[in-house]
């Protein structure tokens, strides 16, 4: 018992610190290092070369005259397109849902129940949640069948599955929770007296929403945005399964290169992806102190 009295804090933090050092910090350092190693057919051989980056950006910097974009730029644009679309949709949807539960559902019991119902799928398998769209969206799926039965269409709609549409749909399906939960958390911290004050001063519901609630949810919106943007930027599973393995994404490029054992090329790609994501997080972190808001 005497020993426990003096258990120093750093010793208690050590197991978690060791995990992050060994499985997060060190791997990231190695990715950065290997991105500068020469590509070798069989083994990972240390060295120093910028070839991997040169290959990655071939045609991007010096070929500005031609109208075609380089592969890397195309892939990033495609991924960014998904990012912006999914971010906008999950933001509006997540905010609306959080607002309804936080301000319109009466009683803490009903709020907790509804919130739980909306978060349970987060703890179930993403792949299964993706597969579940197949019987609905497929060529002979439920939606096409129904539309043909009522005579709205003559031929099945082809773009429902294995398309940009199904990728965005699945992203929204999987990631809205990441936006909703932080915003809900922010909303529950808002002092209800502020809303009554706004009301007493003659603000309409719309004015209260925009001038009181939205500014006070800034933290939640930013945290949710970080989640959604990083999840979509690095994704390869959703784009793979819902895109029928036909749509390019940054994460998928890295995965394919890794499976062909092109580690230096994959590492260079990962460094560039990391730089893009870090820029985004640093920019957001300047706007909000994450630690104080928990």
């Amino acid at each position: 018992m005497k020993a426990l009295k003096t258990t120093p804090a750093w010793l208690q933090a050590l197991p978690m610190g060791a995990v992050f050092f060994l499985f997060f910090i060190l791997p990231l350092v190695l990715v950065a290092a290997v991105s500068l190693w020469p590509q070798n057919e069989y083994a990972l051989e240390p060295g120093f070369t910028l070839d991997n980056y040169a290959t990655l950006f071939r045609g991007c910097l010096f070929d500005a005259g031609s109208s075609d974009l380089c592969v890397t730029a195309k892939t990033y644009l495609s991924t960014l397109k998904f990012c912006v679309l999914v971010w906008a949709i999950t933001l509006v949807l997540g905010f609306t849902l959080a607002y309804f539960v936080a301000f319109h559902v009466p009683g803490i019991g009903a709020q907790t129940a509804l919130f739980t119902v909306m978060t349970i799928p987060f703890w179930t398998s993403n792949v299964i949640r993706m597969i579940s769209w197949i019987p609905l969206l497929g060529r002979n799926g439920f939606i096409n069948q129904t539309l043909m039965d009522i005579g709205a269409i003559r031929q099945p709609i082809e773009w429902l599955l294995y398309s940009d549409f199904s990728v965005v749909l699945a992203f929204v399906h999987l990631n809205t929770t990441f936006m909703m939960v932080p915003i809900f958390n922010s909303m529950m911290k808002i002092d209800r007296a502020l809303i009554e004050a706004a009301d007493d001063c003659g603000a309409s519901a719309w004015q209260t929403l925009w001038q009181v609630i939205v500014p006070l949810c800034r933290t939640g919106i930013l945290i949710g945005s970080i989640f959604v943007v990083t999840l979509v930027m690095g994704d390869f599973v959703t784009v793979g399964v819902m895109g029928g393995q036909q749509i390019a994404s940054v994460g998928k490029t890295i995965q394919v290169q890794t499976s062909y054992l092109q580690f230096p090329a994959a590492a260079a790609n990962a460094v560039v992806l990391l730089a893009v994501v870090l820029l985004f997080i640093v920019a957001l972190n300047r706007l909000v102190d994450l630690r104080r808001e928990l």
Binding site: W10, F24, L44, F103, I128, S132, F142, L273
Partner: protein
């Protein structure tokens, strides 16, 4: 409440409709595959149902092609339980450490948050690289020592219990840490001080006062640990070596299996997740109830 009561007329119902549609959007597809997994032997991947049977569950039990589903389930269960226990233990310890404050606390906090939002493919690639480099280091060391027999037997350090476990922990520990932060930020130290005033040792104060109060949250941390590991794909994908976990097998099967057997598998693993989630929610609620009753 005040807002709700006044505008229950239009705004409320519009928002309620959005919410109801969202819940349908969330659960509709999964319910579809639940139903289709009971498709008759003649049935296909889509509606209509051609009879109702357990045919596809029997097919699943017999095995899907070359993939040994039973072995994958056992591997994922073992890994999930290990991840759950370590997540609870490490998060609790780190939570206690953060309460007291320590040098490097900021660094640990930020690396944890960074690990949470880091694109998984980068972590997976990094861990995969790391273990390959470990392997070549060990091999060259064995070679230099002249231990040829060990060298011949040595294959790789990469595996479920090493790189796989580590990859999963980088995903579950941040959630555990954030939950512990939320718990201890709201924790009233007066209870502990009272215990100490009554002569409790720090261990007794922790064991009999703090632990019972935070137990429901620890159950929550455990649930995050298990369910997130059970479904993990992105971080395991490049970091697990030769054997696959269940979700990785499942991802592979999406392109090769074209019968409702895949729905039977999906239904089975989702039901297991749901059982764990509801057991955890019920246990946490029961603990809170008991604590309230005692107080």
């Amino acid at each position: 409440m005040a807002v709700g009561n006044r505008r229950r007329s239009c705004g409320f119902w519009l928002l309620a409709a959005v919410c109801a549609l969202y819940v349908l959007f969330l659960y509709g597809p999964v319910i579809t595959i639940f139903v289709l997994s009971f498709q008759g032997p003649e049935g296909g991947l889509t509606f209509p149902m051609r009879g109702v049977s357990l045919h596809w569950y029997r097919q699943l039990w017999a095995g899907l092609g070359v993939v040994d589903i039973g072995a994958a389930v056992r591997r994922s269960l073992a890994l999930g339980i290990a991840v759950m226990l370590l997540t609870v233990l490490f998060s609790l310890l780190a939570g206690l450490a953060f309460r007291k404050g320590f040098k490097g606390g900021g660094a640990l906090f930020y690396s944890s948050v960074a690990s949470l939002v880091m694109p998984s493919i980068i972590i997976s690639l990094g861990i995969g690289l790391q273990f390959r480099l470990f392997d070549s280091l060990i091999k060259s060391a064995l070679e230099r020592m002249g231990w040829t027999q060990m060298l011949e037997q040595y294959t790789t350090l990469m595996g479920l219990a090493t790189s796989g476990l580590g990859a999963h922990l980088t995903w579950t520990l941040p959630f555990g840490m954030l939950i512990m932060f939320a718990v201890f930020n709201r924790f009233n130290p007066a209870y502990e001080e009272a215990a100490r005033d009554l002569g409790a040792t720090p261990w007794q104060a922790f064991r009999h006062v703090v632990l019972p109060m935070i137990a429901p949250s620890l159950v929550g941390v455990g649930m995050f640990g298990f369910t997130l590991s059970w479904d993990e794909i992105a971080r395991s994908s490049q970091a697990i070596g030769d054997v696959n976990t269940l979700p990785l097998e499942l991802q592979g099967l999406t392109t090769t299996v074209t019968t409702p057997a895949i729905y039977a598998l999906g239904t089975t693993t989702t039901v297991l997740s749901l059982v764990v989630i509801f057991a955890a929610l019920a246990a946490a609620a029961a603990m809170r109830h008991r604590a309230l009753a005692r107080a």
